[in-house]
């Protein structure tokens, strides 16, 4: 659980470590915008802005959607992410439990075999 959380937060905070990316999030907090809009606002090339948006997207902070020829950016769907993250932490809990259960099953199997001999 801890490993997963760490990787997740590393990605988020790495994405937030850049002033332009924080600015983009601030902007998207007010209204959705296309990559072209954002590039203009931040006096940046389209390619440069695409890179920033890509980092935000990877960290789950922004989602983009292509409508026709325009790619629209909006703040990440936190609700869905929370849920996916929870399911993963839940899986890890059961996985850890079941690893312990594996050991126990091995031990009980051995015991039964020894008793049977």
């Amino acid at each position: 659980m801890v490993q997963y959380l760490k990787a997740r937060l590393d990605a988020s905070f790495a994405a937030l470590s850049d002033a332009t990316r924080r600015g983009v999030l601030e902007q998207l907090g007010r209204a959705d915008a296309s990559i072209t809009d954002l590039a203009e606002k931040f006096h940046m090339t389209l390619t440069g802005m695409k890179k920033h948006v890509g980092v935000l997207e990877q960290a789950g902070l922004v989602t983009t959607e292509k409508v026709g020829r325009v790619r629209t950016c909006k703040l990440g769907l936190r609700r869905l992410e929370d849920e996916a993250a929870w399911i993963e932490s839940y899986r890890q809990l059961w996985d850890a439990r079941f690893d312990e259960l594996d050991k126990l099953v091995e031990e009980l199997k051995r015991k039964e075999k020894d008793d049977g001999e």
Binding site: R22, G29, S89, Y90, L93, L104
Partner: protein
């Protein structure tokens, strides 16, 4: 006794099968009666239910495994901070099926565990059914440290949006 290599670890999968159901599936390299015993004998149950990596030990476990019988499990570092989970068994079919309630909160699920033996291995399916979608959501928000971390991140985003 021949020495065997460490058995391969089987994967654990989790799927949300509807808006109020979760299913966990795992195979164990042993017969069903052994896996079933591990779920129904307190002294065995206590050895795996609270894995060390979670950091919260099991303090006690009482089980009266028969239809209508109750169970009570306590977690925590000491009795004063213990969290208790309890409920009743609705179905008990030895080596095959267990169904129990979770009565520590109104949002808690009904849990069904089935044990299916094949060629000396046991396919285990655990199914949690919550009373409603709201109950599912409330429960999934309460697990572990993740929600808190995400809340902090959310707050940060709101702050930035408002700034």
């Amino acid at each position: 006794m021949e020495s065997k290599p460490t058995p391969m670890k089987n994967p654990t999968t989790v799927e949300r099968t509807s808006e109020r159901e979760l299913v966990v599936v795992r195979t164990f390299n042993g017969p069903a009666h052994i896996v079933f015993a591990a779920w129904t004998k307190p002294e065995l149950f206590m050895r795996w239910w609270a894995p060390k990596s979670i950091g919260v030990p099991l303090l006690s476990c009482d089980m009266d495994v028969r239809v209508g019988g109750g169970y009570r499990v306590a977690f925590g570092h000491d009795a004063s901070s213990a969290m208790e989970f309890f409920g009743k068994y609705l179905e008990v079919i030895p080596n095959s099926r267990l169904v129990w309630t979770n009565e520590e909160s109104a949002d808690a699920a009904i849990t069904t565990v089935t044990f299916e033996e094949k060629n000396g291995k046991t396919l285990l399916v655990l199914h949690e059914l919550y009373p409603s979608k709201e109950a599912f959501d409330a429960n999934s928000g309460a697990e572990g440290g993740l929600p808190e971390q995400f809340e902090q991140l959310d707050e940060l985003l709101v702050e930035m949006g408002a700034g």
